[in-house]
Symmetry: C2
Subunit: 88 residues, 2 copies
Amino acid sequence: MLTFEGNQFQGTQAIIGKLSSIGRVQHTPKSMDVQPSTDPNSLVIFVTGSVQIDGGNPLHFCEFFQLVSNAPGSYYVHNDVFRLNYGL
Amino acid sequence: MLTFEGNQFQGTQAIIGKLSSIGRVQHTPKSMDVQPSTDPNSLVIFVTGSVQIDGGNPLHFCEFFQLVSNAPGSYYVHNDVFRLNYGL
């Protein structure tokens, strides 16, 4: 499941549809934190940094995702939440 | 487990020690996203907003945590990652 700026997308097709609609995106990651999740086969990952969309001004972003292994060496994204962080 | 600005704290005592060392904190949350995690008893929660520490300037923050239920109506924090988001 993807939550992108508060909008939910569930399933491969809906998520790929959303991601490919965004335009040219350049991420500049600044931090990445990883923790084991509740299940020994899953990790939670938290990334912050800045992102430019179609060459615009850089904006702060933060993104959380949970990777789950369903076979040795193979992971899928179970959760994904993306937010811009602007306007104090 | 708590990861606070890249520093890891594990276990109740270490986490409470860190949190109580920070000073007077005022959070102004701006967004909250919730998704079901891999386990039917757990939720992942993602919050962004601004925070003021000891009355200083507001800073962007983002925080992810995972709540796990170990009894009906009872939850504990299994994962917690906190980051400030500044300096483009």
